[in-house]
Symmetry: C2
Subunit: 364 residues, 2 copies
């Protein structure tokens, strides 16, 4: 399945903060065909460090398909022979240096000044992401969504959709999500991810573009923390045990590492090459600000919630608190739990486990 | 119960790394009286950021007693009317700027050079801590310990005692401990605590003493991470919810905080005032290096293991893996689980829950 990245433009976009962005670009991709009355579309919302690339390949030679390729495609649980699948990048997408990521963010040129936004880029929210998606699906001729789905921050967007546009769709599938708000422990976790960026002297209060210095060390450390938090003890035991990194004896050298740390250091450094620090800070804040607690009475959707049993970040307990609250409000909530040792990331890597549950939910 | 801090000196102490420290000071305190044949002593080993001060007060006016005062004292589970309780600071104790902490560490003067150790202070291990304790209890006239106990890093020392001096005692009580080694996820967690120190420009590779610059910002951030990891989502929900810190609107200002983060920032900054960054790095490494897997056949002790149900750091699952392994080796293992919402810290704050189990174990 070959897919093409496209760009949707919004001339003027008012954010939840009150700020107004002009000439906003939103990157998106679609799979399958919209039906005549515009009612067979399924929206996929991406996770913290993800993009619109939820399935397929841009080129035959791409080594990996999109993150949920196991469930999106012809004949798959989200069947692109029947459904028109839409996925877009959020504003301030963290992968700002990836060629296919064109969405407006802190490293974009502000058309009102002709200069890069940098520290002047406003705070954006899950509500803003969802409002941009609504404009996109409207522009494509969608009259009503068949379902909204997404993992992690995609689950936050899914919840936000249920409160913000309750009449526009019936089926909500939050995967590895929290409950109806970001709980305080999660809020603090997100702040810890940001801290190495804020503490990096090269961050320069966010105005590092064009200075020849970028907070790559802080950004790498942030992604090390993100990766670590998204995994689980059992994964670490299985893959690493107490093996050393072979860069010295940790009994003799303070900077000699264990194998797990070398792996996480390298994973963080790799992500830092293609991501933008200012964007990470804004995406973290968007997650922290997420709450539909005060609007939960508006929700009309039916839910399929898919937690991961070993998730340490958006834990099955958080998800269960959300399910309890939704049932109390009279909503129908089915739950399918992914079983693995990969923590939060199992919501991406093992989503295929939920194929039949998803197929049944989508067609119900 | 008023207690006095005393100092034990070791003229020459060979470490596991091969390094030799001279004129080593070990701070300690004792409660109760040693019996005539020297067999009623119980050793208490302290946690990562703790000291020998496990019970009582140094002065009547002290606002708080030692950390396990709920179970150590006259008539308590560890009854100082019957037992002689000994507790000592580990080498490189992190609380280097607390007046009662005299143990040799990186901020001590190296008697061989007349200058502060700084970066030249060697890596120390749980084995070293236990060897120093053995010398201390020998010096006090203890012929055989009645029990060895301790929370968190104190549990690591307790396990190490069972493998290193198996004939010297029968009862081991590791509280909120891991299994028989530091698992890789824990190893990486410990490294993350260290990272803000290593990344602080004021760290100066560990030779910051007397330069007028100390890595206090990195140290505060390290203690923020430590405190966060030692707690639990339920604790955060109960105490903070999504309240703001009242230092600005997080929808408008990137540096505006939620209440939980302000609390953790302040907790971290407070600890940074009395702790030493080099010492934190060495204590973290000592935890990372902990393993008795290759010596587990030597173990003879009976165990009372006390995990905390909500512990996210040294999880009940890690503790259970240790219990399974010990039973497989033919050891008797009783388990008492502390129930609370305070995570790892419940092993300190709610230890009173285990009073009767401890009393029965100690007298059995």
């Amino acid at each position: 399945m070959i897919v093409q990245k496209k760009t949707f433009r919004i001339p003027e976009f008012k954010l939840q903060s009150g700020s107004v962005l002009r000439d906003v670009a939103i990157g998106y991709e679609t799979f399958g065909q919209l039906n005549a009355d515009g009612t067979n579309a399924i929206l996929i919302c991406h996770f913290f460090s993800g993009t619109s690339h939820c399935a397929g390949r841009y080129r035959e030679s791409d080594p990996e398909p999109g993150y949920w390729d196991a469930i999106i495609g012809p004949g798959k649980a989200i069947d692109t022979n029947k459904f028109f699948v839409i996925s877009s990048d959020v504003l301030s997408n963290v992968n700002a240096r990836v060629a296919t990521v064109v969405s407006t963010g802190p490293s974009s040129i502000n058309p009102q000044t002709g200069r890069v936004y940098g520290s002047s880029f406003p705070i954006v929210t899950i509500t803003d992401f969802v409002d941009a998606q609504k404009k996109l699906v409207d522009s494509l001729g969608v009259t009503r969504l068949h379902a909204v789905c997404g993992p992690s921050m995609g689950a936050l967007q899914t919840f936000e959709w249920t409160a913000r546009y309750p009449e526009f769709f019936d089926r909500a599938m939050p995967v590895i999500g929290p409950g109806l708000s970001a709980e305080p422990y999660l809020i603090s976790q997100l702040q810890q991810w940001c801290q190495p960026i804020l503490d990096d002297p090269d961050f320069q209060n966010g105005d590092y573009y064009g200075t020849g210095r970028e907070p790559l060390r802080g950004l790498a450390q942030a992604f090390k923390l993100i990766t670590f938090t998204a995994l689980h003890q059992n994964w670490a035991n299985r893959l690493f045990g107490r093996r050393l990194a072979h860069d010295g004896d940790p009994l003799q050298k303070l900077n000699a590492r264990f194998a797990i740390d070398k792996h996480l250091d390298e994973a963080g450094a790799l992500r830092a090459q293609t991501c933008d620090a200012n964007a990470v800070l804004r995406i973290a804040r968007a997650n922290q600000l997420f709450s539909i607690e005060d609007r939960k009475d508006r929700i009309r959707a039916r839910f399929l919630m898919i937690p991961s049993a070993t998730d340490l970040l958006m834990t099955p307990q958080m998800s269960a608190r959300g399910a309890t609250e939704l049932r109390r409000l009279g909503r129908q909530v089915d739950v399918f739990t992914i079983e693995g040792d990969g923590g939060h990331l199992d919501g991406l890597n093992l989503i295929g486990q939920a194929s039949e549950a998803i197929r049944a939910f989508i067609s119900s």
